[in-house]
Subunit: 312 residues, 4 copies
């Protein structure tokens, strides 16, 4: 991102609307997650996109005020919280390398002694949640996470969908397996049921696309942006998002889009154009790697149209 | 990299010299590669660093005019060549995801049908070399690679060290295993001995640290820089360098340094600050992931001192 | 076992006593399992051996009337029960191949869709217990297992050690991970806590070495032996014991000893010389593969002295 | 095999003929190996079976005098030769555990430092051939292998099919990959091309079904049988055949058949009923594990009809 690109808000709105129109008619919308009924019944026709720029503009297209389940995007907020509390000591318990495996693989845990590869695969996110849970009640920790997200977004109307959380728990065998496995290896400090229960609730946070873009501003590093984390730390969170934010599709996202991002199985993606914008997109259909099919495409087109890329 | 940082050449030279002095007294210099005698006999005391900025300055510290074996850094140049010839069709034969495994692992090839995860692990680089070799003689292809590197550097005094190439061949069982394995899976088009022979020679290219920084300028994307590849393509090469350029230490490099980079077992690293600078460093001792120990540290300090980071 | 070997009871007793004496002075006794306190506090000095021959003799050496925790040897009895109830349909849920991995690995489950390789690794034994548990209460199932073992041994004084079972449960994260993992893959029918709870109790059965040899007689296939299973079925159980009964040391046991056998982490081994004898041994110290160090050695010496081998 | 079973030669011939008739009309004949044209052009209609009993009878059914490629069955003879020369020291370079993986997997080699799991997977057989090759010319070693096989069979008309050997070499990338990989790990002493070349020729030995049954007699352990190996050693070879002789179908073969056996990709199987018989079968179609589909079924039926099983 060498030089200012001179896009006016009108330019950006025009780009957004064009992308929205293209996505409305996209033939292959991916496949909506169906491991819990609460996600399975969401239509694959939804699409929304929002951009908050460094100079304070917030532009949207589509159903940007409809709440959706942020799911794994919540891992960005809990990571920021945990780094704020523990600093780089957190990385004694979780790595920072891409995994080269599916988001919920146990193979890597076995070969690497219960230390998950990074905070964005499920096992790693469980460790992060376990760390901020230690010494507290789940209710307190969930309150703290919600406060962080609300402060980042500058909006209070952000909540946990309890029926989604309950459904996650009812279908949570794989995450419980990961948690018990790490407990066996000494890398989980709370009872697996407690850590998983907190995690299921954090994943069930619902936000609108506009709220998500607002909440991502703290990662932009823009001069006037809110300082929820230090400049050094936001760079590092962005680095983790770029290398690990899309599971085994992270390299592909970096190659095609060129921006740090984090996806959720609810169809949302949060992407950051450092110094320029916080971008959110929502489209429930997923690609083979579990990332929003149209969401990825939409951010790729936005990046191409704006010239936003961290790579030149 | 939001805003211009206003560093004068004198500022940069001062930073470079300070880093050079710090590295001279660094207690843990890593371990020099010893799998071939030609590398094993290099002293771990060497250190050099060079920066070529977008505005045409070239600054160095240390033994920046002493040639060393660029080894896997050559993969950046053959990738650029292959993308120029085949475009994204190259990715039918090699992926673009981080590997999560050691640089010369065969496990991944078995589970993923002979398609290496990315062009920077050995198997992937063999595929890239195999692609540009097809229909040509090794001698022609090596000539083409040298021409590309010389043109990128703007210097002609860049050569292949034949005794290093011969020694690589004599100790090349693992690369031959990878090549035969991919041949068995139909992903190698030339005889394994031919592809490996070409690859061993490309890895044996010797450059000075100054030459390497000069040769990396085409990846900066600076307005006046040489156009060996298109802006879209250089972003993509940078993306691959950031996610995959340091083997199983790529996430760590992104986290600590925040710049695309590619390391070689000879102790060199090429890193790119998009829009700002091409950076080369050389220190032969390697860390546990096979990347230059002091080279990584030196670039990390440079990035901190200059504020150069792609992440904000 | 081509020809009768003409060993008198006195011959056998002599062999047993000599082995007992040799084991008493063995310098390397292995390492007592220490993952639960109830096993860790057992002395590594214990040794006992018992042989029940096809003609009804029962000979012992050492502390053959001291109870010990049979642990994984219980898997033989639950397998016999499950085969009796479900026949070969059981093998829709568990394989019959050696695993080539540690007894409690999850890697295999991930690559093979939650179907454990065989009934003697932990995951496979959990599936077997889950099968006989379905539609019943744990208490009923444990009663049925105890009845089977008591009938096989012809003795009633065989019980579950409840503090061992409780301790297994308190340290059972890895088995719970396996169970949750299989539940996620649809290969566990009861709640993981229930299946694991039953399994922890079955492993906590205590028997004396003499009782264990008595209980193994039904696998001998001797003309007058009790018919708890059909001749065809006992061959198949013996086949599974030979190929899979010692985890990743099964090939070694077959090579050195040449008899079907099943070991437990409590230091017991049950081995079968088809048509000739049921053999039990107990010595708490384990080798690197988790099988009784001296127990293996003692059976190897017995096999050599008697000429008992299934292989010629 | 507890008691003599009193089968007359006429009984056995009747059993054989009935099996031959059943196999002639079997609907699913498996799939003929097609990785080299020399095997691909063999009809899947062939079937032959031969039994040599401990009392010197030799009975056959089907095309028992038609030569076929013994392929991996040759590994039994080279193992016997290597054990004769090196004894158990051979096992410093190759394990004796079932692999739990496909016959030509490289994954295991990477995780276990170039030591193949057993002598019957390809990597292990290459090590065995490499051991007997060391210090000799391939021609000499192949002569020695042929002499051993001819002596075991008591027939001289056994030869290597050179066009099969040449074709194996032309399609030998995977074996060359294994060999180079082990060379890289220091577990191959001759140049990979030399070891593989010798191995390709040993696999190209052609025998008739009758000759194969004759050649297997030395593993029976019958009182009057030829003593090519000691009784202790033949038991151990049988143990390896039972646990590892059918790749990842070894457990299945032990479960269903209950006899030590070794299969080849040419459709042959050699099985041993210790003390009773040497059994050979040939039917070119293979099952999913790479073992003769009808060959396995035929031996299973023979074992059931005769009561031959090592397990009771």
């Amino acid at each position: 991102m060498a030089a200012p690109l001179g896009l006016t808000p009108a330019d950006l709105q025009h780009i957004l609307d064009r992308i929205g129109a293209e996505m409305a008619s996209a033939p292959d919308r991916g496949r909506v997650a169906d491991y819990i009924p609460e996600l399975a019944r969401i239509s694959d026709q939804h699409f929304a996109m929002a951009i908050c720029t460094a100079d304070g503009q917030c532009l949207t297209t589509g159903a940007a005020d409809q709440p959706f389940s942020i799911q794994s995007i919540s891992k960005v907020f809990t990571l920021a919280l945990a780094l704020g509390r523990f600093g780089d000591q957190l990385f004694a318990r979780v790595g920072r390398e891409p995994s080269g495996l599916a988001f919920n693989s146990v193979v890597q845990l076995e070969s690497e002694q219960g230390i998950p590869r990074n905070p964005f695969i499920n096992a790693g996110a469980l460790v992060v949640t376990d760390a901020i849970l230690q010494g507290h009640q789940p209710r307190e920790v969930l309150g703290e996470i919600l406060r962080f997200v609300r402060e980042a977004a500058g909006e209070d109307d952000i909540h946990i969908n309890k029926s989604v959380a309950a459904s996650e728990a009812a279908h949570g065998h794989r995450n419980l397996a990961l948690a018990h496995f790490m407990a066996a290896q000494g890398n989980l400090k709370n009872p697996p049921e407690l850590t998983c229960g907190t995690y299921f609730h954090q994943c069930a946070i619902e936000m609108t696309t506009r709220q998500l873009a607002l909440a991502g501003r703290f990662l932009m590093g823009a001069p006037g942006a809110a300082r929820l984390v230090s400049p050094a730390r936001l760079r590092r969170i962005n680095a983790l998002m770029l290398t690990c934010g899309h599971y085994d599709g992270s390299g592909e996202f970096a190659y095609r889009v060129g921006l740090p991002g984090k996806s959720g199985v609810g169809g949302g993606i949060l992407a950051i154009a450092p110094g320029r914008a916080s971008i959110a997109v929502w489209s429930p259909g997923l690609n083979a790697q579990g990332n929003s099919q149209l969401g990825t495409l939409a951010i790729e087109r936005l990046a191409r149209a704006t010239g936003w890329s961290v790579f030149g």
